[in-house]
């Protein structure tokens, strides 16, 4: 994956890069100037400013990448020239590290459109140039606001889809619009009192637990899977701390490189992919603890919890029906049928009595 490739690049860099590698400080000597701009042929200006603090806080900054790790066509700086590096620079090739993501992206509608000269996002449009962040969020809507919904209005399409608002709010676009992803149900804590999803770090804070302690504390049977009883204990503990918790389920995907293989033509249009008991999309259930950094921890959950009334805000028609209701229904139907049949049969059997009475009168 990307991180391995990054480690490899850094390791390789020690030998492969020129002896006097360009330091970030040298780049920032010019690029920390907020007024540094490039005038484009059409007269517009392009800011060349890089905010050092924001870069340091980015994923690449945290991993201590140098400017030239990405801008690899800068091998040395020539201070005698007006601009000490080649102009223009080659576009950054993210696939040097993120090869699997790039491979998936190359098969996406976005890549196909760009190849055809149309306006479509490349890596940076979603992930930003210099300030790349982990982009996970506390719920699907917040997540999609960072990605697809920045460009797409889902209501303009999906004419065939019932319950649009619910699907758009609680199903990640990639569940249907990315080939090869592994959909999963993301369970999160929703606080009825404050009417919001509770971010993972807040939960840990309230429970006074570290990330590592969370599973140790609530996975009572230590099988690595949170089951219904264990979730009930978690809910009770949160109630004790003033959080009126309900487990809110949303459809998400496992965050693998395949999420970049965005498709329009091959989008899933079969309701049964989810709306079917035992549907593949419902086999993976995870409890999500989001972090303020945009990262998240995922804990495996027993899929049986989905048909429990306890997970009161995850109901997929047909798929997560509560069996008890159908048992009650069966009794009600049986009573109706038994009354009609029983009474009818009795009338048939007693018809001689009525005939006799008719003859008498």
């Amino acid at each position: 994956m990307g991180r391995l490739a990054l480690a490899g690049l850094l390791l390789l860099g020690a030998n492969a890069l020129p002896l006097f590698a360009v330091e970030n400080d040298e780049c920032l000597a010019c690029h920390s100037d907020p007024e540094l701009v490039k005038v484009l042929p059409n007269g517009d200006t392009l800011s060349l400013f890089v905010d050092e603090e924001k870069f340091a806080a980015s994923v690449h900054g945290i991993n201590e990448l140098s400017c030239t790790d990405c801008h690899s066509d800068i091998e040395e700086l020539n201070y005698d020239a007006e601009v000490p590096h080649p102009v223009p620079l080659q576009p950054v090739d993210c696939s040097m590290c993120h090869d699997e993501e790039a491979e998936a992206y190359a098969q996406s509608i976005h890549a196909q459109l760009r190849e055809a000269g149309k306006d479509a996002p490349s890596c940076a449009q979603c992930h930003a140039y210099h300030y790349t962040k982990y982009l996970y969020a506390d719920n699907v809507q917040d997540l999609e606001n960072k990605f697809c919904l920045r460009c797409h209005d889902p209501y303009r399409f999906h004419a065939w889809l019932p319950q649009k608002a619910t699907h758009f709010r609680h199903v990640m676009c990639t569940v249907c619009h990315a080939e090869g992803v592994s959909p999963q149900v993301h369970l999160r804590v929703f606080d009825r009192k404050s009417d919001r999803f509770v971010p993972g770090h807040e939960l840990l804070q309230v429970l006074n637990l570290s990330e590592d302690e969370f599973l140790e504390t609530y996975d009572a049977n230590s099988n690595g899977i949170l089951d219904l009883t264990e979730l009930e204990h978690l809910k009770a503990a949160l109630h004790g701390k003033g959080i009126h918790a309900v487990f809110f389920g949303e459809m998400g995907v496992e965050l693998t490189p395949e999420v970049h293989r965005v498709t329009k033509a091959k989008a899933v249009q079969t309701c049964e992919s989810c709306h079917q008991p035992g549907a593949t999309n419902l086999q993976q259930v995870v409890f999500v603890l989001s972090k303020p950094t945009g990262e998240a921890e995922f804990f495996e959950v027993d899929p049986k919890v989905l048909t429990s009334p306890e997970v009161s805000n995850f109901y997929l028609l047909n798929a997560t029906r509560i069996p008890l209701l159908d048992r009650i229904g069966l009794v009600v139907l049986f009573l109706g049928l038994a009354f009609a049949l029983g009474h009818g049969v009795l009338r048939f059997l007693t018809s001689p009595l009525r005939r006799k009475k008719g003859e008498k009168s």
Binding site: W160, P162, Q163, K164, A165, T166, H167, F168, R169, R192, D195, V246, C271, E272, H275, Q276, P277, G278, P309, V311, S312, N313, F314, Y315, L317, N318, R321, I322, L325, D326, I328, G329, L330, V332, L333, L335, G336, L337, F339, A340, H343, G344, L346, R347, T350, L353, R354, K357, G358
Partner: protein
């Protein structure tokens, strides 16, 4: 046989829209709830058909309510003191015993008093409580995104859906019992015909 005009035109229109609507709602309801076992129509078609018929039946309910409240005839649904004990007992005894031995039905419908004690109680519970509850939960389930706040306040999607599903089974059972009871007129088809023509045939007294 004497003839009594029991069911005016608006009542008959309401009744048959309701009957056909509820039947289709029950059938599509089964399709939606057991799409893994039943394959009458596609899941999506069942969703759409169930929703539109639900809206039609809800509007039909308003027709019923408007007619009965507007004309003041809603009184035919309201049990009187007599109905609550004596009337109910006599009618229950008739259905449980008298009907088998050839006794006369103790109740004789008139336009202003067309339901027997048991019918009044049953229909009042259905039209005054169960149908409105089904309409309300149905409307909430029609757009779970738009009504998320109300659904949440009522205990969540599963709670609202559970009410809708249990009532669905009650209505399915009601259709069976209602159809059977409708056949208990002077002839098998008497009550069915009355709901089409408006005129109920009643055996001459004495």
């Amino acid at each position: 046989m004497k003839r009594v005009y029991l069911h005016p035109v608006p009542v008959r229109i309401w009744h048959w829209i309701h009957a056909l609507g509820i039947l289709l709602l029950v059938l599509t309801g089964f399709q939606l709830r057991f799409a893994d076992h039943l394959h009458w129509i596609s899941f999506r078609t069942a969703v759409v058909v169930h929703a539109w018929i639900g809206i039609l039946v809800s509007l039909d309910f308003l027709l019923w309510l408007g007619y009965y409240l507007g004309t003041g005839k809603i009184r035919v649904y309201l049990p009187r003191a007599y109905d609550l004990l004596k009337g109910a007992w006599k009618q229950a005894r008739y259905y449980a015993y008298g009907i088998f031995v050839g006794e006369e039905n103790p109740f004789h419908p008139e336009p202003e008093n067309k339901f027997n004690a048991l019918q009044k109680m049953t229909y009042l519970a259905i039209m005054g409580l169960l149908v409105p509850l089904q309409v309300i939960t149905g409307i909430l389930l029609l757009n779970t995104g738009k009504f998320a706040g109300i659904i949440e306040a009522l205990g969540g999607l599963k709670v609202v859906d559970a009410v809708h599903v249990v009532l669905f089974y009650v209505f399915a059972a009601f259709i069976i019992a209602h159809f059977y009871l409708a056949s208990l007129g002077p002839t098998f088809w008497s009550h069915f015909k009355a709901m089409i023509t408006g005129w109920e045939e009643e055996p001459e007294e004495g």
